[in-house]
Symmetry: C2
């Protein structure tokens, strides 16, 4: 059923022939989304597959930062620690997310796997050369950076002006949407992170997260499922709460 356009470059490499990118679930989501076959080949040659287990760190805050990553499978938390031990999780990464836009010479965050993780790793220098060679890659990177900035903005609003209840509602809605994009079930949210992680992401304490979680449950907006998952039973009301309408 395939038809080949007469305008397509005959010498190009088919996407299906690039290993291991051909079977990579993250490819249509990551920086490499818009690349043609031969470009993808070029990427693959300069990358390295990395597998780490849950709890392992990809990079440490303050350390030299010679790599950039693309998450292929699994989840990552990014965090910074204040001198007295207070921790703030600045973001979570999932399939297709890129790590390495900020902090070129020295990492400003620690990146730690939440689950067994598979990632695609590039030397910074190599990646910069790839950027030079492929405008489509740099375009895509600008686009991803824009998305990240919008997400950061959203988080700033959450931390600056929302109540604990609104924060948790926003968190569950956003995580649910993200997982839906990645092919997950509607209104079923997987939480690969602990309550402490959620608290440190939302600027709260573990106790407050726990209390608010039961409040949302009691008021019928969510159900707590076995295995640390959550079902959103009243999406409309949870969304209204998340956006601060009341």
């Amino acid at each position: 059923m395939k038809t080949v356009s007469p305008l397509s470059e005959q010498k190009d490499i088919a996407l299906e022939d690039v290993h291991p990118c051909a079977t990579c679930g993250a490819r249509p989501l990551g920086v490499c989304a818009d690349l043609k076959g031969h470009e993808l080949q070029n990427m693959a040659c300069n990358s390295e597959n990395v597998n780490v287990s849950a709890g392992q760190a990809l990079v440490h805050e303050g350390d030299p930062n010679p790599f950039v990553f693309n998450v292929v499978e699994g989840a990552v938390k990014l965090y910074r620690i204040l001198p007295d031990g207070r921790r703030q999780i600045t973001g979570f990464l999932f399939q297709g997310d890129f790590l390495g836009l900020g902090g070129r010479s020295v990492s400003t965050v620690t990146a730690e796997a939440l689950t067994p993780l598979q990632a695609c790793r590039f030397k910074r220098g190599d990646f910069d050369q790839l950027l030079n060679a492929m405008p489509a890659l740099e375009h895509r990177l600008v686009s991803l950076a824009g998305d990240e900035l919008m997400a950061a903005q959203e988080q700033i609003v959450l931390l600056g002006r929302k109540t604990a209840k609104e924060r948790l509602a926003s968190f569950l809605i956003r995580l649910g949407e993200r997982q839906q994009q990645l092919g997950g079930a509607v209104n079923h949210v997987l939480l690969p992170m602990t309550r402490l992680d959620i608290a440190d992401y939302l600027g709260l304490t573990i106790e407050t997260v726990s209390r608010v979680m039961t409040q949302l449950k009691t008021s019928g907006m969510i159900r707590l499922l076995p295995g640390n998952d959550v079902e959103i039973t009243d999406p409309d009301r949870l969304l209204a709460l998340a956006e601060g309408e009341g």
Copy 2:
């Protein structure tokens, strides 16, 4: 006293011949920093000078967003409003800062001038074409995006985990550093924004900002100068406070 390298391109346009970029104070700081003469010429042809007075908005949250801007002179606040009126200022822009990375079709923030403002405006489509034509421009944009992401990260830590005192200390330190970069006096911080703006930026109320300001004054770290300015009288102690050491 000038010497012309024999390797330089003879046909290139000298930077001094590009108007109005030649005299633009923001050029070495903005997206156009790394551009050669003919490239700058190309930028100038596709841009438009915009002047607005203090209090005027460049873009409104939720409106279509057909332009990107580069701040030439003056200061801007970016903010979002929740349905019930709560406001969060997500950032301030100064000379050389770029506006338009996130929210391509619809603006996610309102951008409002704090002072009389001069900016360089591009149609989004034109700017995208410029990006295509000039790799150096897109490189610079990626770099600026990385800086913005790091700043956003910093703000997330501030809002998530710092006390009111630490927030204000961080704010004054950061603003002072920024103004020093722009040629301002050391330890002398200009505040073009009101207490309400500061409060809405730091996730506090106007009263708390005022109270903490006098606390910092009383403890000898700052002095309040006429004209809403601040002098940092004990930079070391203020910095230690800002970073959360105690």
